[in-house]
């Protein structure tokens, strides 16, 4: 019962956030001016009748709330209408979203593989020089502008040593530099989260009991401590998803990666507002869903959370 209330509360919260974000974007974009005029700005001899026809076909004569409901209907059914210049938005997003998700997943996995061992070492050797070194490395990683790091990696690996492609998407090799860039910055955050989570668990009584029983230190850390901190780590990593997407949007531009960030930035450059609106809203909804799933997984795995909330 308690769990049910917790889940329904989280669900309500997710719905609220989605509504708030989509309303904001839709409302803000309404202020940009008349889409009919913008669509025809390139062509000459446009009559008032043409403009009226475009407005009618885009459904712009309806009041704001009707247009918003229509837009939400489109988002939920996946029928996203047409962009100003590039055809159906559904197809554009259908090809961009997988690229972004691929980059996000690779970077996240890479970052987890690096940050878990480093975070454990830092926690176990708390206050020792290894811990200090990892802390300084993490602070340095946090200080990189991600797009500059991307350019420096290109300079080193693509231009000087010529071992990896500069940009675009052409197989696994082209995934290396973008995901390395995103992963380095992400790892800087994740290492600290792993360290904190491990320190919390290592001070628990059951760890002391395990040690008192004579369990080998290796197993105390990897079996007793890491397993118990896994739940906290899932949440930490899940909540990083918003940050991750924010970083990817910028890095995609440097590598001309054909993802959602490039799509949204192109939409801005061309003043293609329906496309911008759809891509921003879909990214935001994706983050809401990932955060929701993270929270639910968390409460399903660990009964203690339900009681606390």
């Amino acid at each position: 019962m308690q769990q049910l209330t917790f889940l329904s509360q989280r669900l309500l919260q997710a719905v609220f956030v989605t509504l708030a974000v989509t309303l904001f974007v839709a409302f803000a974009i309404r202020f940009t001016g008349d889409p009919a005029v913008m669509m025809t700005q390139e062509s000459s001899n446009v009559t008032e009748a043409d403009l009226a026809m475009i407005r009618e076909s885009l459904g712009l004569n309806a009041p704001f709330h009707v247009q918003y409901l229509q837009f939400m209907g489109q988002l939920l059914t996946g029928e996203l209408g047409n962009s100003f210049f590039r055809g159906p938005i559904k197809e554009l997003i259908g090809s961009a979203l997988p690229s972004t998700l691929l980059l996000a997943a690779t970077s996240m996995v890479l970052s987890i593989l690096i940050s878990i061992p480093l975070g454990i070492v830092a926690a176990v050797k708390q206050g020792k020089w290894v811990d200090q070194l990892i802390r300084i490395l993490s602070l340095t990683g946090l200080s990189f502008p991600n797009f500059w790091l991307a350019m420096m990696l290109v300079l080193i690996f693509s231009i000087t040593f010529n071992v990896l492609p500069v940009s675009g998407f052409s197989g696994v090799a082209s995934l290396v530099l973008p995901s390395a860039t995103v992963a380095i910055v992400l790892t800087a955050v994740n290492v600290r989260l792993v360290r904190t989570a491990m320190l919390d668990v290592l001070s628990e009584q059951y760890i002391m009991v395990a040690r008192a029983k004579g369990v080998k230190e290796f197993w105390v850390i990897y079996k007793h401590a890491l397993r118990n901190s896994a739940i906290a780590l899932i949440t930490f990593f899940g909540l990083q998803f918003g940050n991750l997407i924010g970083g990817i949007v910028v890095v995609e531009r440097v590598f001309n990666w054909p993802g959602m960030g490039s799509l949204a930035l192109d939409a801005i450059a061309q003043r293609d507002y329906p496309l911008l609106q759809a891509s921003v809203c879909i990214l935001a909804m994706l983050i809401v869903i990932v955060n929701l799933v993270t929270d639910m997984a968390y409460s399903l795995i660990d009964p203690r959370i339900r009681v606390k909330s």
């Binding site: 989605t18 300084i136 350019m151």
Partner: protein, 289 residues
């Protein structure tokens, strides 16, 4: 943590070295920060031309290749060092003003939300939910795409999205403090709520705020440079670190110095502030984490 390590005592020289390492963090942090702030503040004295003098004879000169251009020149023959010194102003203005704006707004709302609870508290917490799901870059892209880029708009967008972090921290501190004896004592003396909030609760919540402020300035310098790099930040005519990197991107293959040095300037500034923030966190104790 095994029995063996328990017995082994840490030599005195080692723990001294560790303590010095913490101090080193402060020394390096403050040195980097002061160095870059100094460079930017003194830019008008050292580089009266503001890095605008065009010299097509010396275009794309490598570092030290031409006299008077220690960090080389860009595609128009403008001095990179002069442009870094002049362009840093944008970064510091955005970083400092946006963080100050956010801390003032967030603190006031957080204090009242935590003290009175009720509707205001609900609103603050719901804003926190939204902020988690809507990355700054996406929000800024939407706003800038519609209203066009400008320095003021970036600062406003940062304040609007970032006050929540301060409000949450302050709210947390207030909730922890409001039932403490000294607050109850002040109440029983008949002190006004405003007086209690600002002269008893606020000073006790300052530590975490100062840490967050330091890290926030660093982070906003990064965000501003990202936005400007994407063409959504300050006007390309104004020299700025992000703008220099956007220009330099076209010359990465032939003139690496155009991208290396402005990026280093951003990184060292941010690193300096991050080191200071980390040192502060350490000084103010574990309770802050």
């Amino acid at each position: 943590m095994t029995a063996q390590t328990e017995i082994r005592t840490t030599p005195a020289w080692f723990s001294n070295a560790m303590a010095r390492c913490r101090n080193l963090e402060f020394v390096v942090g403050i040195t980097l920060t002061l160095l870059l702030v100094g460079l930017v503040l003194l830019a008008p004295v050292f580089f009266p031309d503001g890095g605008e003098s065009i010299n097509l004879m010396a275009r794309l000169a490598a570092p030290f290749a031409e006299p008077g251009h220690p960090l080389g020149t860009d595609a128009l023959g403008r001095d990179i060092l002069a442009r870094i010194a002049t362009g840093g102003k944008v970064s510091f203005v955005v970083g400092v003003y946006s963080s100050l704006g956010a801390v003032v707004l967030g603190t006031i709302l957080g204090l009242y939300a935590g003290y009175y609870r009720g509707v205001l508290d609900t609103i603050v917490m719901r804003f926190a939910d939204i902020q988690l799901a809507f990355p700054f870059i996406l929000f800024a892209m939407t706003v800038i795409a519609i209203y066009g880029p400008s320095l003021e708009r970036i600062i406003i967008v940062m304040i609007v999205t970032q006050w929540v972090q301060y409000a949450r921290i302050v709210r947390g501190s207030v909730l922890a403090l409001r039932e403490r004896t000294f607050i109850l004592a002040a109440k029983s003396y008949g002190q006004s709520s405003a007086k209690i909030i600002f002269s008893h609760i606020l000073p006790n919540a300052m530590g975490p705020l100062i840490i967050l402020l330091t890290l926030n300035i660093a982070n906003n310098i990064l965000l501003e440079s990202s936005l400007t790099f994407l063409g959504l930040g300050v006007d390309p005519q104004t020299p700025s670190w992000g703008g220099m990197l956007a220009e330099g991107r076209n010359y990465v293959q032939t003139a690496w110095w155009i991208t290396l040095f402005p990026g280093l300037a951003i990184m060292l500034t941010v690193l300096g502030l991050n080191l200071l923030g980390d040192w502060l966190r350490d000084q103010l104790g574990k309770s802050v984490q």
